[in-house]
C-alpha cells in the first residue's frame, strides 16, 4: 500500500503527518520525495545510513571531432549549448539530459558523461526504513532522484509506504503520486490554506486518486479549509489541533507518536481510517 501525503505548499504539516503515520504504522517505509528540502530524516534520525549517488547523463564534446556545424546548438530546446569562439560550450546546469545532441551530432563529437545531481540515503529508525532524496543546490530538477526513490521501492508492496511529496502541484509532485494508492491532503485553516488545498485537490482529481483531507493546526473558530471540504463534499479523515505541546515536539524534530501517548492515539486512529479508506476503494473498484 502506497500512501502519498500532499499539500499545496510547504509548512502545512505534510512532513508531520507522514512521519507520524509511518511511526504509528511501526513496520513501514518512509520516502522523503521533497528532495529540495528533505526534512523527514531530521525527525527519524536514521541509523546505518547507506548512501548512493544519483547521476544524470550529460554531453561532453571532443573538440578535435567537432566541426562547428552547430546542429546540436540549434536542436537543444533548453539552450544548454552554444558555439562561441570556435568552441562548443555546454552549460551543464541547464542541460535536461535528453540525449538529443548526442544522437544527432554528425561527427560523433559528443559523448555522454555522468554528472552527480544528488543522492539517496537509506537508513533505519526503529522499524521504519527511511529513504531520503537530496538534490544538490543549483541543480534544476529533482525528478531523476524521485524516480529512483520510488522505483526502487516498488517490490515492497506488502509494507505500507508513506511518500512525503514535494510541495505544490508541479510535475515533480505528479511523479511522486503516480503510483500511490491513496492521497492524504494536508490543509491549514487559513485563506491561504484553502487556496493551496484547492490546487492539490484539482491534482488528485485529475489523477483519479482516492483521497481525504487532514485538517492541521485547527484553532477554535472558523476554519476556511473545513468549509471548503464541506462545500466540495470532500472527506475529512482527521483533525490535528493547534497546540503548543505538538508545536514544541515538532520544532525540535521529535516524532510526536514516539513521545506522547496522546499523539500515538491520534495518529494510530488516523492510520486506521486511511487503511479502511484504501480497503474500501480497492473493493469498490474491483
Amino acid at each position: 500500500m502506497r500512501i502519498a501525503v500532499l499539500s499545496g505548499k510547504g509548512g502545512t504539516g505534510k512532513t508531520l503527518v507522514s512521519v507520524n503515520l509511518a511511526a504509528a504504522a511501526k513496520i513501514s517505509t518512509y520516502i522523503d520525495c521533497d528532495v529540495e528540502e528533505p526534512n523527514g530524516h531530521l525527525f527519524f534520525k536514521p541509523e546505518n545510513i547507506q548512501e548512493e549517488e544519483v547521476h544524470v547523463r550529460i554531453p561532453k564534446v571532443d573538440g578535435k571531432l567537432c566541426n562547428g556545424c552547430r546542429k546540436c546548438v540549434d536542436f537543444c530546446k533548453f539552450n544548454a549549448l552554444a558555439y562561441i569562439k570556435d568552441k562548443l560550450i555546454i552549460f551543464e546546469d541547464i542541460c535536461h539530459s535528453c540525449g538529443g545532441c548526442i544522437l544527432l551530432c554528425p561527427e560523433k563529437a559528443l559523448t555522454e558523461k555522468e554528472k552527480v545531481i544528488g543522492k539517496i540515503q537509506k537508513g533505519a529508525s526503529d522499524q521504519v526504513t527511511v529513504y531520503t532524496g537530496i538534490l544538490n543546490t543549483g541543480e534544476p530538477s529533482g525528478i531523476p532522484i524521485i524516480k529512483k526513490l520510488l522505483n526502487e521501492n516498488k517490490p515492497e508492496r506488502n509494507k505500507t509506504i508513506f511518500i512525503d511529496c514535494p510541495p505544490g502541484s508541479a510535475c515533480i509532485v505528479m511523479e511522486s503520486i503516480k503510483d500511490a494508492d491513496y492521497c492524504i491532503l494536508v490543509a491549514e485553516p487559513t485563506l491561504f490554506g484553502v487556496h493551496n488545498l484547492n490546487m492539490v485537490y484539482e491534482l488528485v482529481k485529475l489523477f483519479n486518486k482516492p483521497f481525504g483531507v487532514v485538517l492541521n493546526k485547527c484553532l477554535d473558530g472558523e476554519n476556511p479549509s473545513e468549509q471548503f471540504c464541506i462545500e466540495k463534499n470532500i472527506k475529512i479523515i482527521g483533525r490535528i489541533p493547534f497546540d503548543s505541546e505538538l508545536g514544541m515536539l515538532n520544532s525540535n524534530a521529535e516524532i510526536a507518536v514516539r513521545k506522547s501517548e496522546r499523539y500515538r492515539t491520534i495518529f494510530s486512529s488516523l492510520l486506521e481510517t486511511v487503511k479502511k479508506e484504501v480497503h474500501h476503494e480497492t473493493t469498490s473498484n474491483s
Binding site: 510547504g10 528540502e37 535528453c98 538529443g100 543546490t137 510541495p167 510535475c171 490546487m199 520544532s251
Partner: protein
C-alpha cells in the same frame, strides 16, 4: 530599480504574510508574486482593477500522428522522460513530456511534431497607483523557472521608472528560486525556529551565496522555540549575516489574513514587530554594501 526578494526555505513560515506587510509599509509601487506554483499574495493585496491576462507558453509538447506512425518504437526507446507509451497506439503523456524534441528527431516517418502548449497564465494588475505582477502555472507544467522570469520581466516593464520593488519569492531552492534570485539586490529570508526551518534556511543561504546576492534573516514565530531561535541567531552571527529582527507568534495574524488584511492593517503584536523588521531591512538595502560580505 532596487529589488527586495523575500524567501523562505518552505511555505508556511509567513513569507507572504510578511511580504504583504512590507508592501503596505513601503507603499511599494511595484511588486510581484513569484510563487507561480501556488500564488497567494493576490489574496491579501486587494486589487481594484481586473488583471490583464496573457497566456504563457512553456516548452512545446510532442504529439504523435497515429495515421502516419508505423509503430517502430524508436520514439519510445529514445525518450529519456518515459513520456511515450504504446498501449494500443503510440502516444505522448503531456505531463511527462519535457518537449526536448528527441522523438521528433528519431521518428523515421515524421509522425511526431512539437506543438505549442499553454503552461500558465500571467496576470498584470496595473493602475496609476501600482503595478502587481503575478502568474499561475498550469498543473503539471514543469517550467516554473521560466514563468518566474516572465513575472519579473512583466513587473519591470510595466513599472518603468519605479525605484523600489518587492518580490514574494517561491519556496524551495530549485529552478524557480534561482530564477527569482537573478537580478535582485537583497534577499530577506524568513526563518522559522524549528530544526527543519534551520536546515531549510541554511540551504537557501547557500543558494543565495552561490549567486552572490546579499542576504538578511528575520525569525518568524520566534517564541515557539527559543532554543532554536538562538541557534538561528548564532548561525547568522557566525556566518556574518545580518539579523533584522524577530516576530512572535500571533493568532491575530491568522485572523487578519482570513479577513483578507495584512498584519499592519490591524493593531497587533506581529504587525508592530514587522515594522521594526521592515525598517532595519530597508536600512540595509539602501546602505551601500550592506548585508552579506559581497
Amino acid at each position: 530599480m532596487k529589488q527586495l526578494l523575500i524567501l523562505s526555505g518552505k511555505g508556511g513560515t509567513g513569507k507572504t504574510t510578511i511580504a504583504s506587510a512590507f508592501i503596505k509599509l513601503s507603499k511599494a509601487k511595484a511588486y510581484a508574486d513569484c510563487d507561480v506554483d501556488a500564488p497567494n499574495l493576490h489574496l491579501i493585496t486587494k486589487q481594484s482593477s481586473q488583471p490583464k491576462k496573457t497566456d504563457y507558453y512553456g516548452l512545446p509538447k510532442a504529439e504523435i500522428d497515429t495515421d502516419l506512425c508505423i509503430e517502430c518504437g524508436q520514439c519510445m526507446q529514445n525518450c529519456r522522460f518515459d513520456a511515450i507509451s504504446a498501449d494500443e497506439k503510440y502516444k505522448v503523456d503531456p505531463f511527462a513530456c519535457e518537449g526536448c524534441g528527441v522523438c521528433e528527431l528519431v521518428c523515421p516517418v515524421g509522425a511526431v511534431s512539437l506543438k505549442p502548449a499553454v503552461a500558465g497564465e500571467l496576470m498584470l494588475y496595473a493602475d496609476k497607483e501600482e503595478v502587481f505582477s503575478t502568474a499561475q502555472l498550469k498543473m503539471g507544467s514543469g517550467t516554473s523557472g521560466m514563468l518566474v522570469t516572465e513575472v519579473k520581466k512583466q513587473m519591470k516593464s510595466a513599472a518603468d521608472g519605479v525605484e523600489f520593488a518587492i518580490i514574494d519569492g517561491s519556496p524551495g531552492i530549485g529552478c524557480p528560486v534561482i530564477a527569482s534570485l537573478s537580478g535582485v539586490d537583497m534577499v530577506l529570508i524568513v526563518a522559522e525556529p524549528s530544526i527543519s526551518g534551520i536546515s531549510d534556511m541554511e540551504r537557501i543561504i547557500n543558494t543565495a551565496a552561490k549567486f552572490g546576492v546579499k542576504t538578511v534573516v528575520c525569525i518568524n514565530k520566534f517564541d515557539t522555540n527559543m532554543q532554536n531561535t538562538e541557534k538561528i541567531e548564532r548561525f547568522c552571527i557566525d556566518h556574518e549575516i545580518n539579523l533584522v529582527g524577530r516576530i512572535a507568534f500571533d493568532s491575530d495574524a491568522v485572523k487578519a489574513i482570513n479577513n483578507g488584511q495584512t498584519i499592519v492593517d490591524i493593531d497587533c503584536n506581529s504587525g508592530a514587530a514587522v515594522k521594526a523588521v521592515y525598517n532595519k531591512t530597508m536600512e540595509l538595502l539602501l546602505e551601500k554594501g550592506g548585508g552579506l560580505r559581497s
